[in-house]
Symmetry: C2
Subunit: 367 residues, 2 copies
């Protein structure tokens, strides 16, 4: 395993999806930090538009002396199948003709994402994972890990997610998918060979999504009804170029995402979130939850409107092996697990103490 | 005043907007129920896509023996300026050329809506209003009434609204406006003379809006992750025609709105909500609130994500003349003021008792 933080691509062969399609010659990309000696692996799972560079997006939480201490632990983060940050996804070349997969890319579920990760770990010779942890879509994968490969996982931290998609989430996520699929530049998912990009659709999706990631109090404290400097949204005639400051902020978020993320991946991964349901083919939600044997910590955010806190209460009440529960208190909403570094630091340190009963694995004696 | 519940159109002359544009030969439409004898008028204010037919949308609350008892009170509901249910709006003929106003229709504020209503009451010879009441955009108008024409209004009930738009509201409302304005059938607001209608854009706007009107617990209890009967959203390839039940439900809400509502009015009224700010030109929010002298009841919904309950707490703490506060407890969210009839019945009866100290006006003796 390469643990210097560089991006590594690992072929994992043909991936057969839960719904019965195939992705031949799939690749999973990862980064890892900290020496690996068999017993000290932590898997960090990224969210929808995240990537392998966990030290960037979980700023201040991973590194020497940090909560996820790379002097003790080897921290690994892989890009999800269907993504666009190194792993095979809709924008990757199809092995048959080297043209982008596009609409040929099959639908994937959270379970398919976990299957792909398991295959990555097999390729890397990993037999044991001390802890898997992640928020949002990363939390959904973490939860599925505890059900799909419990023998491999010693503990899990499931953050800001639920046992299944809620109808509200499916509704707001489908609105985002629609915005992309209705963009004439989408070309049915095969825009890669045109010189067009569904930037407007992806931008709209991001604006909506961002408002579900951020608490209204936080956004209101920052922007209120301020106009964007130099613009007048209160003029005598409606003019889309005259914006409130919050509109400009959302436009900026949209532009940033369009620059760094593939619309095809956005659709596939959002669809995967719609399909999130740990109860499927396991006798229902609570039976599946009750069957979890991996000690699991549940973390939620008090102001999260996308995955409201009662969903984490449901998880904690019904999970077979609850290790602990923690609430992030923040005006930020869902994204608080990314932005409230001080609270996350405390939570992750406590999680790891509970995970190994205060005795982190020691490296083998050097001869 | 015609009080038989029929739709009546009243010319109110030229309306000059707050931002300085003019709407010549404006008309306001209204319906009223119950004999009017000078002292017994209740004004009911409709929400964004509401209309004059308050007895329909506030089902069970207006009529003989109901909370708003038309044996005692005359209940009047007028269509907002900019609307499409009888009053002058973007789809109305322009007096100059009889072609639809379209993009020539000026931006309107909540205050412009109230100005137009005041002019309607002038035309009808009304000098005194016992109570004004409304929810959502109707609540915004009610609040402005207490500031613009306090000498005319004896009491007010402000339901499920805030003292100004929040940045989150502006964000999610602007996303809806964008969806319409980006629809190629919008034609810059002048689609009326084409044979096209921006149905896709208006539908998208409604899907998003509906998810802000409804609590996620209520939607989840109804739909969960159920597929729409006969469709399979879990198939091996993503297919927009294979929907979850909640997607079908939102499609139905979209179709219903497209059939009954004008996209031009939707844009103008949503823009008016973005402009809602009782503090503008009044020395700020709390100074404006403190200056309110009309006894006012504030009502909120515990699960409202569009106008969260803390906004009604803010209103009640800062308003100059608080009559009472009431909380609707419901999984339904914002729309609870329309759907929780039993609770609204109790709240409105209490409001009217407080409004006239238990002594409703009696009609003049008949000779």
């Amino acid at each position: 395993m390469i643990t210097d933080g560089s991006l590594v691509h690992v072929p994992i062969g043909t991936l057969r999806t839960e719904a019965g399609a195939e992705i031949p010659e799939a690749t999973i990309a990862y980064r890892a930090w900290g020496d690996f000696h068999g017993k000290n692996l932590l898997i960090v799972e990224h969210a929808l538009t995240g990537d392998t560079d966990a030290r960037s997006w979980w700023d201040g939480l991973i590194g020497p002396g940090k909560a996820l201490d790379t002097d003790t632990w080897c921290v690994l983060c892989s890009n999800v199948i269907g993504g666009c940050a190194g792993s095979t996804g809709p924008s990757s070349p199809h092995p048959k003709d080297d043209k982008p997969w596009g609409s040929r890319f099959p639908a994937i579920s959270i379970r398919d994402q976990v299957t792909a990760e398991y295959r990555l770990l097999e390729e890397l010779g990993v037999r044991e994972v001390q802890a898997i942890l992640g928020g949002s879509m990363g939390g959904a994968r973490t939860l599925e890990w505890t059900l799909m490969y419990p023998e491999m996982v010693r503990s899990a931290a499931v953050i800001a997610v639920s046992a299944r998609a809620s109808a509200w989430q499916i509704g707001i996520q489908s609105a985002q998918i629609d915005a992309i699929e209705q963009d004439p530049h989408w070309h049915g998912g095969d825009y890669y060979q045109t010189d067009e990009v569904p930037a407007a659709g992806l931008g709209t999706a991001r604006r909506i999504a961002h408002l579900t990631y951020r608490g209204e109090q936080e956004i209101d404290e920052r922007f209120g009804v301020m106009p964007q400097p130099g613009e007048n949204p209160l003029g005598p005639y409606r003019d889309p170029a005259q914006r409130f400051a919050v509109e400009s902020y959302l436009d900026y978020q949209a532009t940033k995402l369009v620059e760094r993320f593939d619309a095809g991946s956005y659709v596939m991964l959002t669809d995967a979130l719609n399909r999130h349901d740990i109860g499927r083919d396991r006798g229902g939600l609570n039976k599946a939850l009750a069957s979890i044997t991996v000690p699991t910590m549940i973390v939620g955010v008090d102001t999260d409107i996308l995955y409201p806190y009662h969903q984490q209460e449901h998880l904690s009440r019904n999970i077979g092996k609850l290790m602990a529960m923690a609430k992030i208190v923040s005006p930020v909403g869902h994204d608080a697990f990314l932005t409230e570094t001080r609270q996350m630091d405390r939570i992750l340190r406590r999680f790891l103490v509970l995970s190994c009963q205060g005795n982190p694995p020691t490296p083998p004696e050097k001869p």
